[in-house]
């Protein structure tokens, strides 16, 4: 960009904030997908609760393929850790974004 200052002065704070928030949401969604025993699982609180309630030897992955879970406790723990980590990161980055009051700081320039 020839004149970054000029670009930034025109750039809309609300636009940038909304888009940056969406990027954070996408990042959170991606970080809640884990690979386990060859399957791909989307981790949500409902998924974890379902695992705890059903305790089957099998679980359906994101493509609805059954995957054998040899150690259910280890799988639940891994799912919980992945979700916690993703949510903590999302929360921290979301809060940091809220504290930024201009476009320049939103995009770390």
């Amino acid at each position: 960009m020839d004149n970054i200052e000029q670009a930034l002065s025109f750039a809309n704070y609300q636009y940038t904030l909304t888009k940056e928030r969406k990027l954070l949401t996408q990042k959170f969604q991606e970080n809640t997908i884990i690979a386990y025993n060859g399957g791909l699982f989307k981790i949500t609180p409902e998924f974890i609760a379902g695992l705890k309630a059903v305790r089957s030897e099998w679980s359906l992955d994101i493509n609805n393929n059954p995957v054998k879970i040899d150690d259910m406790d280890a799988f639940i723990l891994e799912a919980q850790l992945a979700y916690d980590k993703a949510l903590n990161e999302y929360g921290a980055e979301f809060n940091a974004l809220r504290a930024k009051r201009n476009v320049k700081s939103l995009v770390n320039l």
Binding site: A7, K27, K42
Partner: protein, 273 residues
Amino acid sequence: MSQGVLLFAHSSEQVNYGILACWMSSRIKKHLQKPVAVVMDQYTYDGLMQSSIIPKKYFDHIIINEVGDLQFRRLGDEMVPFTNFDRTDAYDLTPFDETLVLDVDIVLQSNRLNCVWDSNYDMLISDDSIDIFERDNSEFQHLKEHGIKFRWATEFYFKKTPVAENFFKLCKSAKEDYNWRSVLYGFSNWPLRNDFLWSIAAHDCNVEIPKIPRKLRYSIDRDEIIELRENEIIIGTQTERGPKVLNVAGQDIHVMNKYELMILSAIEIGVLL
């Protein structure tokens, strides 16, 4: 089972894909910690040597493959030559049992793609994408309106299995019949696009090919890279409502402005262009 990332790099006068591949390899080693193989032609290899780059420093496997014909495509306001004819040979060329093929213009900023390894699936491909500025991306949804679903050849994973082998046979078959396929599916027959071959093969193979579990983020060739840092990229664009700037941090993004990416990636790996 060996696992690794396969890159394709065929430089032209305008874009030094060799340098992009070296930079990409350094990012792969950092984020994915996997061996990297590169397919390049002698022109690209010699170009690296002339830039005082030792390819063996970046790549675990170097596969020299001459591809011949050049095509032209629009990059910004210019038509630039490129070649992409050997991506359909990925199955035959890869030295790995499990291969992740990545374009060299993906800015790798996370280890998310490590979720593909040891998969139960024979192949994983990308079909869902999002423009970071959320412009109309219908051209990346279907080959034409109400046509077959668009699949990206930008990133995909495969194992050496009959299913994956069949997929690549279908890609080659679609390449041979490209003119006819373009009439059948309603897209331009020039230049040849691997994305279209992948879309046709996925459509033809009669099994649902699972997708890499994420949206492929991208910015288009007119967008400008303002800064490329270790774990974030700042991209600007002109819209009807003025210039806009976004920071993509800790997420991978497919950056189509190869000119600027080439310059910034050369700086990152300490190479003078």
